[in-house]
Symmetry: C2
Subunit: 206 residues, 2 copies
């Protein structure tokens, strides 16, 4: 392959990938509004500037589209709290900043979070999603563990739980807050914040 055609095809590939990302964004918006069960390809197309047929030009089928969406979601999500880790100078700072960040994203990105839980639940039924979901879940666990282990370092106390347990516990708090928040409970976010602040020290040795 000559350099020219190489450059060309790369440009085409880039454009192809770009449009895929564009459609995935429309799909993510639709999914986070309607949920997996009620999202159709036609609805996704209507939330974009294209017609419904184009989705099968860029994605083999619905599963590939949603799988791709999930990966886009992951990329957006996974580094969400890393800045907190690097800037916090004391255990107290880290704890408060983390709790505040969780409450903030629970309010701001509620639609996206409920989509994540929806898709993770689909993986309990449909095996086709399981691999990607487990991969994302693992990277979320790592993200949480970076918080917890940094908090442990700053506290001069080692963690007393495994990364999986730490993730499970905090994820449970967050999911509960999300449900309460979307149900209009005004105390949901404050309870999440105080719950996280209370919980973090419990994850360290006495």
């Amino acid at each position: 392959m000559t350099e020219v055609t190489d450059r060309i095809s790369r440009r085409q590939v880039d454009k192809f990938a770009e449009r895929r990302a564009q459609l995935a964004t429309s799909a993510l918006r639709t999914l986070s509004e309607l949920g997996y069960a009620r999202t159709s390809l036609r609805e996704i197309a209507q939330n974009s500037e294209f017609s419904h047929g184009v989705l099968h030009y860029y994605f083999r089928d619905k599963v590939e589209l949603i799988t791709h969406c999930v990966k886009v979601y992951k990329a957006e999500c996974v580094t969400r709290y890393d800045q907190i880790v690097t800037t916090a100078e004391s255990a107290e700072d880290l704890r408060e900043d983390f709790a505040e960040a969780l409450a903030g994203t629970c309010r701001e990105d509620a639609a996206l979070h409920r989509l994540w839980y929806d898709l993770r639940n689909q993986a309990l039924f449909e095996e086709s999603f399981r691999t990607d979901v487990l991969e994302i879940d693992k990277s979320l666990e790592s993200m949480i563990w970076r918080i917890v282990s940094t908090y442990a370092d700053l506290s001069d106390r080692p963690p007393s739980v495994t990364p999986a347990t730490a993730y499970g516990l905090l994820d449970g708090l967050f999911q509960q807050a999300l449900l309460r928040q979307l149900s209009g409970d005004p105390a949901a976010l404050e309870d999440l914040r105080s719950g996280v602040v209370q919980t973090l020290p419990k994850l360290l040795e006495a």
Copy 2:
């Protein structure tokens, strides 16, 4: 209304309620196998001994059917651990029995549990389910709190978290174990057990 017709109509009402329960059982089985998104009324009927039309004789529409199913689920679920509370004679017993019971039901009733999480997630999108889901969630929280507060009494140490926080934390552990278990992770149940055993003491004052 005479006594006779009263007795008759009550019998009819009973039979009516009985058949509703029967159909709800078929619906629950179907839902726990396929998940909310892929369960249709025809599929439910096919998992029963009736034809699809009968569902509209006993339920106004799909929402009423599923709502009714959720309430049946609740009745089955809510007293699941009460025996543990009443029979445990030491904090250590209670802690081990509870962890064992959670691991047991995570294995035995995995399909039903994933359905619960599926429906609770639907409530994040569809407001029609929200009332019933929140009610069940509240009663599950109470169930967990009976465990935790009894454990606190037997330990002679007061709880250090709210009922909501205790439920959120433990539910997070359980949900994680359920995902791992359905994905074939052989360590899922043992990790759930040890996670719960580790966590319970952390819910009490030092």
